[in-house]
Symmetry: C2
Subunit: 497 residues, 2 copies
């Protein structure tokens, strides 16, 4: 068997194991009975072990070496580049470190749950420091793969968002932080737009969610939607994309946002290039571009006035006694206000939460901050960047699960997604001149077709920044996001720059 | 690491992979979207490959060899015996044969679907012959493991029902066939017992099924029930037993039977000895004993008059306008009549369907019957044994999926289960003197406790016939089953021996 065939067969097998991991992970968060938790953890670890063994096996190195001397076409060349990076990554990390990280994450998560429950950072400090130390070690081992002049944090960004660098992100995030604060200062103290959605029954919300999903173009023959406490989207293999959403009687806008957001992720997964199976290029090009798809649908489309003109008659069909106009719904969906909790934050403030975390994570990986410094540094960053300070650790430095699970370098993806989404949205309004008329009539097909062509179909053939640049041309995402917010929330609150 | 530790760690790992296989198989039959079928097949095959590789690895042979010289306690000795049998089995079957069987089963299944659809055995003949040839080869390779004097079919029985032999089954089945025919002759032509259940809504049937499940003792903290076209029960790992049932508006008795039947399987799985994890003994002792648990609950308990006295008020709570007495329900649940289709057959006739298949399978593995002979042999066996002949191949030789999937030696389990269940039932009435009073009051705990002690907790520490004999003593299962049927259906139809 030649090296290329052998490599693609192995990648196909690794994709198979990853898909199986996703199936058991999906089940864990949807249907698994409580008593199965421990065993499921072991089953999951077993698959990780198999995945690691088969991706770092010496023969993989031999195939890659053989392929490095061959003159390859574009797709195989890209595939070999990705495979080499994965192989190097896996072989650079000693199994001692991988094992210690797994234990530290598990212990860290448990310590975080307890610390948050008792609103006491102190018991989380040592486990967090352990996770930080191991992540620093990992970052320094992986740094050589980032090329000369890279920032230590770049090695972590590469784990979630290949192609993103501190050099690019830092100035963008700084500018965005300032601009967002101007907007929030301007609307601060002004009355919220009118429009309040009363509690709505679960059955109706489920019905509407299903309807919206299909209207947006999600293929239920090749996927499905279930319920989960923390909504997520996962790809279980070709023809099987699983969305989850959360239905909240008291908070219809949150249900709607969750469904449309996850649908955006799902549409991306369903649009990935299936014909590239076995190359490793048939997958998402990172978390930021993934998030751009969910945020584009959730915010740019799903919180627009034309969208509520489409939705309102469907809501009236389910809840005949509901007397809300599209404008009421639009108002209810677009309130903004500085707030303490990231996951509950509005479209504008959300990014300030991320920018604060980005600054803290840079501090950690530049060696300026340790676990013991984080409570104070957190409050300081929140004061300067978000403009609010939590009176408790629970809603402050302990609010997110990410660090306890060893996820450093992940947070920026959310705002990268929002920035990409803003430029994609701005480009869409030019590419589809009657965009908002289409949305109002529930005709989302041209949007999906454009995203399929410009984003989804590229899979992982390029790093996300390149795919994005090719899709939108020479745009300024910070300006696009701010223009979007001023023209929407700015107008709703009656303020202008 | 000593051989015992190494072996138990490997068994634990193999159990992990088997559990993962069950998870993705459960999902396939409950929630998987249609477009995922091909990929799911590949994922399933990948796990089978991993399972085979790791169970036949040379080190397993070395551990077993090392352990064969050691003086082991009872549990390790039993574990090593099972592990050696599995290892010998896997290594006796060449991977060429395993691969050919997998292909023949897949092709056979597709050919069967088409042949049944077009009611034409001819197109199924060649694929079936291929499956038969490969199964004969498998049986002859495995026969030496059965010890001297074994029947070729014993090697197949061992796959599903370790400990069952042709020598034991043939006379029992022959006697049972004759006795059942006497009963069916006696009731033939007489009016059915009164009682007809009208169509009942799905939501109510679901509610009642959930209630019955909990009342019978199924632990929803360590399992759940979903819906499937072909109900089944599967163990996904410690603390995770999944039942499925089918809700039929027009056929409440079928819904009830399905739920109680699968609950019986589930209670067995939940009662297996968890502390024996890693020994391979923490599992079911075969299909026959498994079926004894489902049939005991479904038929002996679930079709009894006291059970309907328990159920009727619960039904009235859900469907207040329903005017059926416990006696009506009892009558509706216990109609018997010779019929063509195994899966729709009543409690008595069902066994005749199995006895006919057993005779045909013996003919195949004694070399007397080939695929081409089966349509005629089928009709002949049905005429003699079941007393009905199908006018079509679809409802005759093509009615079951089993042979197309290479399942030879599996059918007897169903009747073995019914026989075991009858003797267990007879023993229960002695062990729990107020059994039927308890049932009438919905107190099933003493039954479950007895089964836990006598059957479930033994897992696979012994072959099923030994576990069974220890539980019921020196009983005659054919007599017990016939006594049960005469005292129930005989009385309902007003006939006696």
């Amino acid at each position: 068997m030649d090296a290329w065939t052998a490599l693609t067969e192995r990648i196909d097998e690794l994709d198979g194991i990853a898909g199986i991991s996703s199936i058991i992970g999906w089940d864990e968060q949807t249907y698994m009975p409580p008593a199965a938790a421990e065993t499921r953890g072991k089953q999951s670890a077993l698959l990780s072990k198999l995945l690691h063994e088969r991706s770092t096996a010496p023969e993989v190195g031999e195939w890659l070496a053989a392929l490095s001397t061959q003159d390859l076409a574009e797709i195989p060349r890209a595939a070999v580049r990705r495979a080499r990076r994965n192989y190097q990554r896996s072989t650079l990390l000693p199994s001692r470190l991988v094992g210690e990280l797994a234990i530290a994450r598990s212990e860290g998560f448990n310590a975080w749950v307890k610390a948050k429950g008792s609103n006491d950072f102190a018991t989380f400090e040592a486990p967090l420091q352990r996770i930080i130390d191991l992540n620093r070690e990992m970052a320094s081992l992986l740094l050589p793969l980032q090329g000369p002049g890279a920032h230590p944090y770049d090695a972590l960004l590469e784990e979630y968002d290949p192609g993103s660098t501190v050099k690019d992100l830092r100035p963008m995030f700084e500018r965005l932080g300032k601009e967002l604060n101007l907007l929030l200062d301007a609307v601060g103290g002004r009355p919220h737009p009118k429009g309040t959605v009363p509690p709505l029954d679960i059955e109706g919300q489920r019905k509407l969610s299903d309807r919206v999903l299909v209207d947006l173009g999600f293929d239920l023959n090749a996927g499905r939607m279930d319920l989960a406490a923390h909504p997520f989207t996962t790809d279980l293999g070709v023809g099987d994309v699983r969305l989850t959403t959360r239905l909240q009687v008291e908070d219809f806008m949150s249900t709607l946002g969750s469904t449309v957001h996850e649908c955006g992720h799902g549409l991306y997964e369903q649009g990935l290039p299936k014909h590239l199976a076995g190359t490793g290029l048939n997958r998402a090009a990172g978390m930021g571009i993934h998030e751009s798809q969910s945020r584009l649908w959730e915010n740019f489309i799903g919180r627009s006035l034309p969208f509520f003109r489409y939705l309102q008659p469907r809501m009236a069909g389910i809840w005949p006694s509901l007397s809300l106009t599209p404008t009421d719904l639009y108002g209810a969906a677009n309130r903004i206000e500085r707030s303490l909790i990231r996951v509950a934050a509005d479209e504008a403030t959300y990014n300030l939460h991320i920018i604060a975390r980005f600054e803290l994570e840079l501090g950690i990986f530049e060696g300026k901050l340790d676990a013991k410094d984080l409570p104070e540094a957190w409050d300081d960053a929140y004061r300067r960047i978000v403009g609010v300070v939590s009176p408790t650790a629970r809603d402050g430095v302990l609010q997110d699960v990410h660090w306890s699970s060893g996820l450093f370098g992940y947070f920026p993806s959310y705002t990268i997604g929002n920035l990409y989404a803003a430029s994609l949205g701005a480009t869409l309004t030019t590419a589809i001149p009657d965009l908002w008329e289409r949305v109002e009539h529930g005709d989302f097909a041209p949007i999906l077709a454009w995203l399929r062509e410009k984003i989804h179909s590229h899979g992982f053939t390029e790093d996300a920044p390149k795919i994005f640049a090719a899709a939108v041309g020479d745009r300024d995402p910070v300006k696009d996001l701010m223009d979007h917010l001023w023209s929407r929330q700015g107008v709703l609150y009656g303020v202008s720059r």
